[in-house]
């Protein structure tokens, strides 16, 4: 017998509300995976192109640990800063339907996003205590959100999702 998994009904009234810890954690995990995976793919592609042009074999370790580390940090910065400055969300946030906004709900600017990305490691450095606000705070803001004056909200079209949900259950009958 086939069983249907129970999915909660999409809740349109929560759009614009502060995003909770689970959704934010999942979006971060997706971003952490993507930032590394894309870096590997891009560097592999670049080295392949260099080998193709020069005809010599290169390895990532040839670039040096320090340089490689700096390039990776710049890559991380660009991965998070670029999409958030342009669209208010990273890929992981887009998948989970989240958006970065100013604390008053206005669209966030590139400067605030830069502050948020640069201060993000501070939340890690304090034994992860910088993230405790996401779990315990009423506005679910991490330390880097406080520095940048930002917050993260649900921003997906839950109304359309709810109609799709109802339609799916109607057709499944």
């Amino acid at each position: 017998m086939m069983t249907r998994t129970k999915t909660p009904e999409p809740e349109p009234r929560l759009t614009g509300h502060y995003a909770g810890p689970v959704t934010r954690l999942v979006s971060y995990v997706i971003d952490a995976f993507l930032v590394s995976a894309l870096f590997s793919i891009v560097t592999a592609g670049l080295f392949w192109l260099i080998e193709l042009v020069t005809g010599e074999n290169y390895d990532a370790s040839d670039a040096g640990g320090l340089l490689g580390g700096i390039v990776f940090l710049v890559w991380i910065f660009l991965y998070f800063w670029g999409p958030m400055a342009a669209w208010g969300r990273t890929l992981g946030m887009a998948i989970m339907g989240l958006e970065l906004v100013r604390r008053d709900g206005e669209r966030v600017g590139a400067g605030r996003v830069a502050i948020r990305v640069i201060t993000f490691p501070i939340s890690f450095l304090l034994l992860g205590l910088g993230f405790i606000g996401i779990l315990l705070g009423r506005e679910h803001r991490a330390l880097h959100d406080v520095f940048a004056g930002t917050t993260i909200v649900y921003a997906w079209d839950a109304r359309a999702a709810r109609l799709r949900f109802l339609a799916a259950h109607r057709t499944a009958r």
Partner: protein, 158 residues
């Protein structure tokens, strides 16, 4: 003298009417007083309307109606102008409509792919778990229910 007298003595009555100045008599009759004495309600009660209606040919009556002319005299725009469409739409329960009608099937076929459904499910599950966590945190911190700030006023009000 009644009808029996009329039948047996028609000539006598004719002679009598010839003598009486009928016009002069009629002029002296108070018609209003006569009408006042008529009990119209009682008269109507004695009429069997069903019997009258049974004799009416509705089809024939309808056939004689010029419906086109009638409709042309109606200002549909004026009627529509008086209808508050927004109020009507507000009263429609869209979700119930989708759940109960073929519109749901149309939405499913036109907009839903596996990826969309997966995303919807992932997001809904995430929100559900968020709320679960929030409830536990509120309970542990002994926050009264309903004190959560929701979201930035600009977004929540919108």
């Amino acid at each position: 003298m009644g009808p029996v007298a009329d039948e047996h003595h028609p000539k006598a009555i004719d002679r009598m009417l010839g003598i009486v100045p009928v016009d002069a008599v009629l002029r002296r009759v108070d018609v209003q007083a006569v009408l006042d004495r008529i009990d119209l309600q009682a008269l109507i009660d004695r009429v069997d309307l069903n019997e009258v209606l049974a004799k009416v040919d509705i089809d024939q009556l309808a056939a004689r109606l010029d419906l086109d002319a009638l409709i042309q005299r109606i200002d549909v725009n004026a009627i529509v102008d008086r209808v508050d469409i927004n109020a009507v739409v507000d009263r429609v329960d869209i979700e119930d409509l989708v759940a109960r009608t073929e519109i749901g099937r149309v939405i499913m076929q036109s907009t839903t792919s596996i990826a969309t459904r997966t995303l919807d499910a992932a997001r809904s599950t995430g929100v559900g778990l968020d709320q679960f966590m929030n409830r536990w945190v509120d309970r542990v911190l002994r926050r009264p229910r309903g004190t959560a700030s929701g979201g930035p006023a600009r977004l929540v009000a919108a």
